[in-house]
């Protein structure tokens, strides 16, 4: 084994890792925002809102991420009439997919707050949207923080799937260097170690928050 291939190519590899981080962060920010709306829709008393949100969540949760990515790579050019950069297409697919997962976490967070809180908030004269925003969601976020952190780790792990459509994230960069230098053992072990360290830190953080 000769690990100098890694230090020789470290810049290229780190560029890929940055891309993975970018994809993960954008995915988390956008999908979590959408997820809040869907989650509120899931607990709505109106069927016209509740059913579509439930269908959205269950539809996406019963498909693999890689298939959703394929779907969007086919549908986005068909709908918009032009080819978007692959980063954008992957991002759209990721946001839609993970919005469903985050929505379930937010929903269980909202349900953990309890109906009496909503009633109390409404009785003080707040509107429904105010009581959601000011009373329920802040408490819900505290309850669901560990689950959210765990899901963020899953998003980060999921960015490897962008490899499949050739986006140059960390795993793809690794495989390119592995092919060029014919040193797959060192490179894939290195990639595994990097993912292990990052995700381990994430799962530890989730555990810490859970105990707190």
């Amino acid at each position: 084994m000769d690990f100098s291939v890694i230090s020789d190519n470290i810049e290229f590899l780190m560029l890929g890792l940055m891309r993975s981080f970018q994809l993960a962060v954008f995915t988390i920010v956008f999908s979590l925002t959408i997820a809040c709306f869907i989650a509120i829709g899931r607990v709505s008393s109106r069927r016209a809102i509740r059913y579509p949100s439930a269908i959205f969540v269950n539809l996406l949760r019963s498909n693999p991420l890689i298939l959703i990515v394929f779907w969007f790579f086919f549908l986005v050019p068909l709908i918009t009439g032009k080819t978007l950069p692959e980063f954008h297409t992957v991002l759209i697919a990721f946001v839609v997919f993970f919005a469903a997962y985050f929505a379930e976490i937010v929903r269980s967070g909202i349900q953990s707050v309890g109906a009496s809180q909503v009633k109390a908030a409404l009785s003080t004269g707040l509107t429904y949207s105010q009581s959601m925003r000011l009373i329920v969601l802040p408490q819900a976020f505290r309850n669901m923080l560990p689950a959210l952190v765990t899901e963020c780790v899953i998003v980060f792990q999921g960015t490897t799937i962008a490899y499949v459509i050739g986006m140059r994230e960390f795993l793809h960069s690794t495989s390119l260097v592995a092919e060029r230098t014919v040193r797959p053992v060192e490179l894939y072990l290195f990639a595994a170690l990097v993912y292990l360290v990052i995700c381990f830190a994430g799962t530890r953080l989730a555990l810490f928050l859970e105990k707190k």
Binding site: S62, L67, L78, L171
Partner: protein, 237 residues
């Protein structure tokens, strides 16, 4: 958006053959990997609760390693790296085997999922009151017997929903094995799309497979949970 649907194309050869092969590979791979993952996961999950510190450490290390490396990276490790680390004779024998991608996928998927199942097992076992352990020990059962005859059958029922959802996870995760050349249903759909440019029809076939499976597993598990429930332990339906 103008798109002409042509659903009959799925029924034409070679597309139909690919769909059937894809579904059969997905189902076989997930069932086998799930079975293996259950065995390994129960073992790992149990030793994480053992009295011996060494055993606990081994279990925890396993879970942390396999849970924190993305599945795709693990598949690549098994596919590209593992054969190179074998002694020459073994490597040649391994490369001569039929269906190396399928075998690799089976190893990768089951070891990955075993870590997740181990976690479920652990939380299932933790949910069992300490008195059960004490009662079992007091009747003279050894630690191994206590786990085998008392704790696992008990914990297993508590964990049925989690274990069912792990099957669904493995079923969906099996799609990733297309990257190492397993012709499962997502890969088959991608192939059909590439040849015919009929993405909607092709991906619908794949999506439908996953969705129907999810729905049937959810229904079946609801029934199973109902049949196996220990009175007073799991809420009535």
């Amino acid at each position: 958006m103008n798109y002409e649907f042509d659903w009959s194309l799925l029924l034409q050869e070679p597309n139909w053959g690919w769909v059937i092969e894809g579904i059969s590979n997905t189902v076989q791979l997930s069932l086998m990997a799930w079975g293996l993952a259950l065995v390994i996961g129960i073992f790992i999950g149990t030793i994480r609760m053992a009295k011996s510190r060494v055993l606990r450490l081994v279990g925890t290390t396993y879970v942390e390693i396999f849970r924190n490396i993305p599945l795709l990276v693990q598949l690549f490790l098994w596919f590209f790296v593992f054969p190179l680390l074998l002694p020459d004779d073994f490597m040649r024998a391994w490369n001569r085997l039929d269906g190396v991608p399928f075998l690799t996928a089976l190893i990768g998927l089951s070891l990955f999922t075993a870590a997740r199942i181990a976690e479920q097992i652990r939380s299932g076992i933790s949910s069992i009151p300490k008195g059960q352990f004490l009662a079992a020990y007091s009747t003279g059962l050894t630690e191994l017997q206590t786990f085998r005859h008392v704790i696992i059958p008990y914990a297993f029922r508590v964990m049925i929903p989690a274990i069912a959802s792990e099957f669904l996870t493995i079923f969906k995760n099996s799609a990733l094995t297309l990257t190492i050349g397993v012709a499962e249903i997502t890969g088959a759909a991608k192939t059909i799309e590439a040849y015919t440019f009929r993405g909607i029809e092709a991906y619908s076939a794949a999506s439908l497979t996953y969705m129907l499976t999810t729905a049937s597993v959810v229904i079946f598990m609801g029934w199973l949970e109902h049949v196996l429930r220990i009175p007073g332990l799991i809420g009535k339906r």
